[in-house]
Amino acid sequence: MEILVQQIVSGLATGGIYGSVALALVMIYQATDVVNYAQGEMAMFSTYLAWTMINAGLPYWVAFFGTLLVSFAGGVLIERVVIRPVEGKPILTIVIVCIGLLVIFNSLAGWIYSYIQKPFPSPFPERPIMLGVVVFGAHDLGAIGVTLIVLAFLYAFFRYTTLGLAMRAAAQNPASSRLCGIRVGWMLAIGWGLAAMVGAVAGMMVAPIVFLDPNMMAGILIYAFASATLGGFTSPGGAVVGGLIVGVLENIAGTYISFIGTELKLTVALAVILVVLVFKPSGLFGRAAVHRV
């Protein structure tokens, strides 16, 4: 029983991270119909920036928020410089550009920081926390908390601010948004910036668990795809719930189904993608896409 609860909590912790990356994917997908394959590598690169700042002697939280700022600016810049020229081009063109970004960030990180794994600090105490008879890792609980804070922040931003409203409008109906005086291009760029920020948080939360190296987000991106597919690519809330489900499912399958163990965990994610696409392609909370042809 204790093992089950522990597995669920640590599943929720990694699930929150999958959910955050999934959320970043969904934010960009909803605004531009583009799946940003480079989301994971952008997050990895942000984490390296945080590592550099921490190694330069900055306190953790200064580095944390500094990384968020730089990531936001970087996301905006990437949209303006790289994505903007291919806006409205065939979807394959944009996919190729995103994959190009993925390779560039991966190689750039390897070139600057080498491919050797680096430890990344957690802001939470190392001492495990006892709740009743169950022992939890402080980092797991902290990561869940950080994920929830990010979610609450984004929800409040999109729900209550005029800028958030304008971004939702620009994603839904660009022509009408322009007629309201909204600079649609900039809304998309800000969307990329926010997604890069969310990804950076996920990167900094996962790095203490998996260690920092240029390939650390490759697997997580697949889990994030599974999460977004499960929750529905059109539903930001669904993406996070999907992440939590995938995280827990993965842990429980790894613990209780003997042949899966730790080696075949990633297969769980791929199985989730397959099952969802076959039986409910719009996901648990998504809307079926309707296109005029």
Partner: protein, 237 residues
């Protein structure tokens, strides 16, 4: 009266297809001007050209300034509100959020709050549905929402594209009555594009007749209504 909006030799094209072939027209300050014409004459394109939504050449002067070639969002911020064909409703947002977006280009919370009250007074049905998703409104209510959203900009010029399209005659009369009221009370000049010639000539001060991308006749609305050829072709009696 002085012209608030004036187009000279306005050309527009979609890709290689030219749609406007040198259109001239003017909208008088404080008046209602209508552009009549059959399907495909270029009426919608004329409105889109004013707002920079198509590739154009030629001159469009708003309040004396040439606005041709500017970005749509910049033109809108000058005080030109466009109610597009098909209403442009944000169907997944609430009625209130749709209206807030209408005021996006403005600053000054007090003025915006005033205008919320004003549009709810013109369209009481919107007030009772402000928390509802706009996509759940009827066609007539969505058209009212589109006009109300445009008013939230506190525009000097209102461009209306086929507000009667697909609506019951009673709803159409109601909307045109409100447009007339808005024009008088708030001194908003109106450029109205309409297929329903009789109702458009009923509220307009000036009218233009458009055929295949050119203005072929113009004059006071009353005069066009008396014109035999127009009566037979567009009014049907």
């Amino acid at each position: 009266m002085a012209a608030l909006l004036e187009a000279r030799a306005l050309h527009a094209q979609y890709g290689w297809t030219k749609v406007l072939h040198g259109v001239d027209f003017a909208v008088e300050e404080g008046g209602i001007t209508t552009i009549l014409g059959a399907n495909g004459a270029g009426k919608t394109t004329t409105l889109r050209a004013v707002c920079g939504m198509v590739r154009t050449s030629g001159e469009v002067r708003f309040d004396g300034r040439n606005i041709a070639g500017r970005a749509t969002e910049a033109i809108v911020r000058l005080g030109i509100a466009h109610v597009p064909e098909g209403r442009g409703t944000f169907v997944n947002l609430t009625v209130e959020e749709n209206l807030r977006l209408g005021a996006y280009g403005r600053s000054g919370q007090a003025g915006i709050a005033e205008d919320f009250e004003a549009v709810y007074r013109y369209f009481p049905v919107l007030a009772s549905r402000k928390r509802q998703l706009a996509g759940t409104l009827s066609g007539g209510e969505q058209q009212m929402l589109a006009v109300a959203r445009a008013l939230m900009l506190r525009p000097r010029l209102l461009l209306l594209d086929e507000p009667s399209l697909g609506l019951a005659p009673m709803v159409v009369r109601e909307i045109f009555r409100i447009v007339r009221t808005i024009n008088r009370e708030r001194r908003v000049s109106v450029l109205l594009v309409e297929q329903n010639a009789s109702i458009a000539l009923g509220i307009a001060d000036n009218a233009y007749l458009m055929e295949t991308g050119r203005m072929v006749q113009s004059g006071p609305a009353e005069q066009l209504r008396q014109n035999d050829a127009i009566r037979r072709a567009y009014l049907g009696y």
